[in-house]
Amino acid sequence: MLDRLRDGSLTVSQLAAPYAMSLNAVSKHIKTLERAGLVRREIRGREHSCRLHAERFADAMKWMTFYTEFWNDRMEALEEHLIEKRKRGGR
């Protein structure tokens, strides 16, 4: 969904079109993205249009990429540490 917003703003029904989901379910999903600060919704009359909050999105991607790598590396190191500890402790 976020990917499709990269090219510009779309209405909720345009966003929902390719998915086998109810408009209500899609709207709920958009609300989640809105709460995460990744999407902005603009209301013009009866049309709701969605726009990607590009700066926030880039920051979110940066944070998630950083910590995915950080914790993956830490867990590898934790594994080595536990193996070492068992060797030393003779367990």
Binding site: T32, R35, M64, T68, E80, H81
Partner: protein, 142 residues
């Protein structure tokens, strides 16, 4: 509730008790918590719910200070702590570590959540709304 979330899973060749204890062992943590280019790592912690920890990672020309507070310490299945990093504007985030035994191994699931800054008050209000709504349902059905 949804901010940004990172989930990392790892099967570890140890008991869940050993894995749990590793998170509360300041001396041992120095060996596994500090990333590659870090030249020195200092860990201090007060291992109780409400206790704080501080992990200082020093590399060439950089120092990153991570601090936080233990929120849940359920040996051997769950730890929860806040995580505030100088690398990310001191913004408070939340880390949950869940441990589950799988035969001879321990499966660790780490969830790191970051909540959107400007929306937090709104979000909190919305969260309360939901709680009150559910409470209302309970009161009606009870």
């Amino acid at each position: 509730m949804s901010g940004q979330t990172v989930v990392v899973r790892k099967r570890l060749p140890a008991t869940c008790e050993e894995v749990f204890d590793a998170w509360l062992d300041a001396e041992g943590m120095r060996r596994w918590m500090c990333p590659g280019p870090v030249t020195s790592c200092e860990v201090t912690m007060e291992t109780r719910v409400g206790g704080r920890f501080r992990i200082v990672m020093t590399g060439v020309g950089v120092e990153v200070v991570n601090t936080g507070e233990f929120r849940v310490l359920n040996r051997p299945s769950k730890l929860m702590f806040t995580w505030v990093s100088s690398r990310w504007n001191e913004q408070e985030t939340l880390v949950t570590v869940e441990l589950q035994r799988h035969e001879e191994e321990c499966e660790l699931v780490l969830t790191h959540e970051r909540f959107p800054r400007e929306h937090s008050t709104e979000q909190l209000a919305e969260g309360w709304g939901e709680i009150l709504e559910k409470l209302g349902v309970h009161l009606v059905s009870g």
